[in-house]
Amino acid sequence: MNAIEIKGLTKKYGKTVAVDSLDLKVKQGEFFGLLGQNGAGKSTTINCITGIAKFSEGSISVMGFDVQKDYQKSRATVGLSPQEFNADIFAPLEKILDFVGGYFGMSTGKRKERVNKVLDLFELQDHRKKPFGKLSGGLKRRAILARALVHDPDVLILDEPTSGIDVEQRHALWEYLENLHQAGKTIILTSHYLEEVEKLCSRVVIIHDGKKIADLTKAEFTKNGDKLEDVYLRLTAKAVAV
């Protein structure tokens, strides 16, 4: 079964077409990269998958559940780490995680267990009582990742998870993500750091102006010793020329 299946997705903001007839499949257990320039439609696609944005054309299913007709079941299977820090800056981290667990219908006992687990996983135990707004940039990023995992989702969507954090923390984060992938999670990653996409992802799709312009496996984008960055620049330059 595909973890995510998008058919003919079109999303418009007024007259602007953000995503144009996009077809996309992400296999279960895949570490998948979604690439594109700023404004290419990556975040819009993610927003349509997770329910933050509405769409009028096409269909999306997550773990077999239609995101519009079966929205409660589909959302229960997804964890989102958005690009922006969208957490209550005054609330202590442990409360934020506990509330999100509650939104997913987890019992008090289960929430306590999972909150502890994700705090351990991202080495945040010492910061659990701190308000989100008082955490450093790197800690906030880890906290957002922890929040995405509280309900133990099958699919994890990471929108620019390493933006604004230092090299050491980025490497630590890669390790976390690789461990999650090893544990069987399907991961969708968008990033402007193409070396991390190359390192982590087994397949990438590049979108430009809301359209898919390439769908490549790791073997394809690294053949002849190519770097993903070179392939990406070549393909997007070609798309711009067209």
Binding site: Y13, T44, N47, T50, G51, I52, A53, K54, Y71, Q72, K73, R75, A76, V78, L80, P82, E84, N86, A87, D88, I89, F90, K95, I96, F99, V100, G102, Y103, F104, G105, M106, S107, R147
Partner: protein
């Protein structure tokens, strides 16, 4: 409806207002105390316009209602507006919460704040008057239905508002003026006969009058019709809010 999901939203709402008690509780308690002192005790002791009813007893239900409405409306409108503005709302939008669970969660939060505000004001009022409700069941009905109505109105404004200033528009230009001319401080009999019909068109008159009856047993309006009107209004507002949430109006891109 899932109880865990619903109670989580409600709990978060309650914790939000408890986090800022000066703004959400102490401020309305102080305002109400000043109203009670000035209008009820200082001026009220010189007013004798109804037989067997002290002015402070007459005016207290209106003062209580003013703060209750402000509390319920402020709770849901501010909470929803800030969650939209900071995008914290996305935590809920990406979860399996149903629209009904979200709306009820906000309403329960507003009811708790309204009851907390009322309880504090009541304690103050007991120092000056025998504020024991004449009809306790009716008293809770009016407090509850008014908290529900104004929390729903707050949700509509919280969705509609594009900037902070918008949150105060309804309160400043509609709620407060209609409350003040809706019989908080005066009996309808004190007005010239040719304007009394205007007061009877004001929904706030029935709200204040209903609560007053539940507290001191004195009424100037048809209570049953007033209660039916309030229940209908709450149902209608709930339906409007549900449709707006379902359509994702100003919630989903």
């Amino acid at each position: 409806m899932n109880f865990i999901r619903l109670s989580t939203v409600a709990k978060r709402e309650i914790q939000r207002f408890l986090r800022i008690p000066i703004q959400t509780l102490i401020s309305p308690w102080i305002s109400a105390t000043l109203y009670i002192l000035v209008f009820g005790v200082i001026i009220g002791s010189r007013i004798d316009f109804l037989e067997n009813i002290d002015y402070i007893d007459f005016v207290f239900p209106g003062i209580l209602m003013l703060q209750l409405i402000a509390g319920a409306f402020g709770q849901s409108s501010t909470s929803l507006y800030f969650q939209r503005w900071t995008k914290v709302i996305e935590e809920m939008l990406t979860s399996p919460l149903s629209y009904t669970e979200m709306i009820f969660g906000y309403i329960i939060g507003a009811i708790f704040r309204a009851f907390a505000v009322c309880a504090g004001i009541y304690v103050v009022a007991l120092l000056f008057t025998d504020a024991t409700p004449a009809h306790i069941g009716l008293f809770f009905f009016y407090v509850l239905i008014v908290a529900i109505i104004f929390s729903l109105l707050g949700l509509i404004v919280g969705l509609w508002a594009e900037k902070m200033e918008h949150l105060t528009i309804l309160q400043t230009f509609i709620i407060t003026p209609l409350m003040y001319v809706g019989g908080v401080f005066n009996s309808i009999d004190m007005l010239p006969e040719n304007v009394q019909w205007l007061v009877r068109l004001n929904p706030f008159f029935y709200i204040v009058d209903g609560l007053r009856y539940s507290m001191i047993g004195y009424s100037e309006s048809p209570l049953f019709l007033g209660a039916i009107f309030l229940i209908t209004l709450a149902t209608l507002l709930f339906a409007i809010v549900w449709v707006l949430f379902h359509r994702g109006w100003r919630l989903r891109a």
